[in-house]
Amino acid sequence: MRSSCGRAFYKNEERCIIFRNHSQTIGDGALFKIVEKSFLQDIVVRMVIEAPEVARKRKPGQFIVLMIDEQGERIPLTIVDSDSEKGTLTIIFQIVGKTTAKLADMKVGDHILHVLGPLGHATEISNFGTAVVVGGGVGIGVAYPIAAALKKAGNKVISIIGARTKDILILEDEMKNVSDRLLVATDDGSYGFHGFVSAVLQNLIDSGEKIDIVFAIGPVPMMRVIANLTKPYGLKTIVSLNPIMVDATGMCGACRVAVGGKTKFGCVDGPEFDGHEVDFGLLMSRLRTYADQEKQAMENYRCESHGK
């Protein structure tokens, strides 16, 4: 029987090559061409993909599921921007595992085998008054279309974006363009406020700024801290969750999250939920379900790529 790690397989280079060729010849769906690709920083990639129908239909807050090739897994990625005339979608992703690493290794002109979307509910946008949009790390990519839509709807938009250090901060100019005020924080103090985005929000609240709604998108611990911070003020806080998904159409329940003590599906009920109701601890433990396999797949991929 095959061992659970199956590592022996990759020692057999010949079979490995056969598999790779196989993936290029078989494919029964429409292909989605990569038309632009750039590294926003070492491990964060911006990509523009041809997907005309999705581009026409998509609204802020929605996401796609993509599958690179026949052997690939299905991963959800938020749509950052779209151009319905050109028929393209923009995605921004961080390299966190094999699939994102492989995607980052693809070139302009390459094709992604499957793209499904637009999925999930769009962000509920209206003129709330003053909206604060908090984006952390690669989550700024998800925060951007929301901030843009809020601005367009007539809100006063105050954006707070943060990263570990200045070099890895993304979309500063874009966020500036769609915000009335942009506040920047870095964990190491290399740029902007020295500290977390949550401290910037706390200062903003303390300064007496009248805030009507907060959107927080970023790493789970960041969203948890923001939700905990705003709760005592009764300040409505929307978070965008990123649970593990397979089909992303409501069929499998891999993405189940607990919201207000009830089980919800991230894919069809979300991806945005009331941050004060979300069980972030459960979300974090469920996100770690495949940590070992993800590590193994990444190591295999690195070895394989190294040999090329």
Partner: protein
């Protein structure tokens, strides 16, 4: 490749059968017994995902076919939801005309290789077979499988003549059994048919749900290819309700829409701890393994938890598929936890039999009440309660009643919840005027599949709730007739 490999085994397996059969024949002389289908040894097969039965060879098939007494008024045909011409195709097999038998099947059944494997024949055609009254019924399913496989293996696949183009465009939503059947019927009538499928692969439950060891995916792919050769257009990665609505489809010029989207949403029990890591819906567990090929991780990128102590909750075919998948993924202990007894189990007898042979442990009159996790959020134990049977409930089955104070703990590291599915609301929510019942299933008028929206038809699990492949196919067949009449009447 897989089919070829199976065939090699088939030959060795069959030789043994033939010898056995020869001796039996000498003893009994005239009466031919129902021919068994050779299959993989249970000790072997729990370590692979290859198909369990090898299927008949030509000799066995002809022998079995000769048992059919060719009734003038065959009750078997009436027992088949898609009216397969059973005596006729069996006669052709008996005469050695295997390809012709396959073509005969395809006159009324777009997916014979699938039906030969997964239909509950014991409740349909074989149940009413006249031979079954005194002896065992003719093995209709095994013969259907034989003829369909023979055609696929021969590569001699004939595309039937189509009626001249009608100029009518029909949209079929969902590429599962209902959708594939209706597409096959409508394309033959001269309509232009486009199937919209949300997943990246066509086949619906045949691809994501039923495991390789019960229905090889190559078989499903071949049946889907056949439909594409007929001219059916399949658009994958198209989630209707999200990418476009039913109204969008009409605006694009479709004259009728068929909704065969299945009952896709998983049901959980809402008991404490059910969201711990390691607890799956059967839909997720089977989709990972079948559609995404997680059993081949890391060659394929989708991971799956390879539990050592796996509990599957439920007693239907999906539960059997899940528990047998768990064994093949390396479980030391694979349990079926079912709240009634074996008599009430909805699974096919054959599936229960296969599961037992493979070493599945049946914990009957048991139900989970709570899952207990470790500090990392992983399921480690399951608290169960013992049940006893009370009075029959609405389903006619005796209802299970918990025995107070009978709770006990089972160590588990993976749990698969296989207690049924419900309607996925996405399409209904985005289609104004489409009436649904209390449980979210689409309301239809009689057998035609006509919904409360003109030009919109529905069939399969999205109308009936979870049922069988063949019933969904029967619904597709009925709706095809109704849609044909509808679009032709409009001129």
């Amino acid at each position: 490749m897989l089919i070829r490999k199976n065939r090699r085994w088939k030959i060795t397996g069959v030789r043994a059968m033939e010898n056995k059969e020869k001796t039996e024949k000498k003893e009994k002389k005239e009466k031919i017994p129902r021919q068994a289908m050779p299959e993989q040894d249970p000790k072997e097969r729990i370590h692979n995902f290859d198909e369990v039965p090898y299927g008949y060879n030509a000799e066995l098939a002809m022998m079995e076919a000769k048992r059919c007494i060719q009734c003038k008024k065959p009750s078997c045909v009436a027992g088949c939801p898609v009216d397969v011409k059973i005596p006729e195709f069996i006669k052709l097999i008996a005469e050695g005309k295997f390809i012709e038998a396959a073509w005969k099947l395809k006159e009324t059944n777009a997916l014979p290789a699938v039906c030969g494997r997964v239909c509950p024949q014991e409740d349909q055609c074989e149940k009413v077979c006249i031979l079954g009254k005194k002896d065992e019924p003719v093995a209709v399913g095994r013969l259907e499988r034989f003829a369909a496989d023979f055609e696929q293996d021969s590569g001699n696949i004939v595309i039937p003549e189509k009626e001249s183009p009608t100029g009518k465009k029909i949209a079929v939503v969902g590429a599962g059994p209902a959708g594939l059947t209706i597409a096959g019927d409508l394309i033959k009538l001269g309509h232009e048919v486009t199937i919209f499928e949300a997943l990246h692969k066509a086949g619906g439950v045949l691809i994501y749900g039923i495991p390789e060891f019960r229905l090889p995916k190559a078989i499903v792919d071949a049946e889907v290819n056949y439909l594409e050769k007929l001219g059916v257009k399949i658009v994958r990665n198209a989630a209707i309700g999200r990418l476009k609505t039913v109204d969008d489809l009409f605006a694009e010029g479709f004259h009728a829409v068929f909704l065969g989207v299945g009952a896709g949403a998983p049901v959980f029990m809402n008991i404490p701890g059910e969201n711990l890591s390691g607890i799956y819906s059967a839909n997720e567990y089977l989709t990972r393994s079948n559609l995404m090929k997680a059993y081949l991780f890391p060659e394929f990128d989708t991971p799956i938890v390879r539990g050592k102590n796996v509990a599957v909750i439920g007693g239907g075919n999906v539960a059997m598929d899940s528990v047998r998948t768990a064994l093949r993924l390396g479980a030391d202990n694979a349990y079926i936890i079912y709240r009634r007894t074996e008599v009430e189990m909805p699974a096919r007898i054959e599936e229960v039999h296969h599961a037992k042979e493979e070493g599945v442990q049946f914990k009957l009159l048991h139900a989970p009440v709570e899952y207990i996790g470790d500090e990392n959020g992983w399921v480690r134990q399951m608290k169960c309660i013992r049940m006893e049977l009370g009075e029959p409930d609405a389903s006619g089955r005796r209802s299970p009643i918990p025995i107070k104070g009978s709770e006990f703990i089972i160590d588990v590291d993976t749990v698969v919840v296989a207690i049924g599915t419900m309607a996925n609301p996405v399409i209904q929510a985005t289609t104004p005027g489409l009436e649904v019942n209390k449980r979210g299933y689409i309301v239809t008028k009689g057998e035609t599949g006509e919904t409360t929206r003109e030009g919109v038809y529905a069939g399969g699990d999205i109308v009936t709730g979870s049922a069988t492949v063949i019933l969904a196919m029967g619904a597709g067949r009925q709706a095809a007739k109704a849609i044909h009449e509808h679009v032709m009447a409009k001129g």
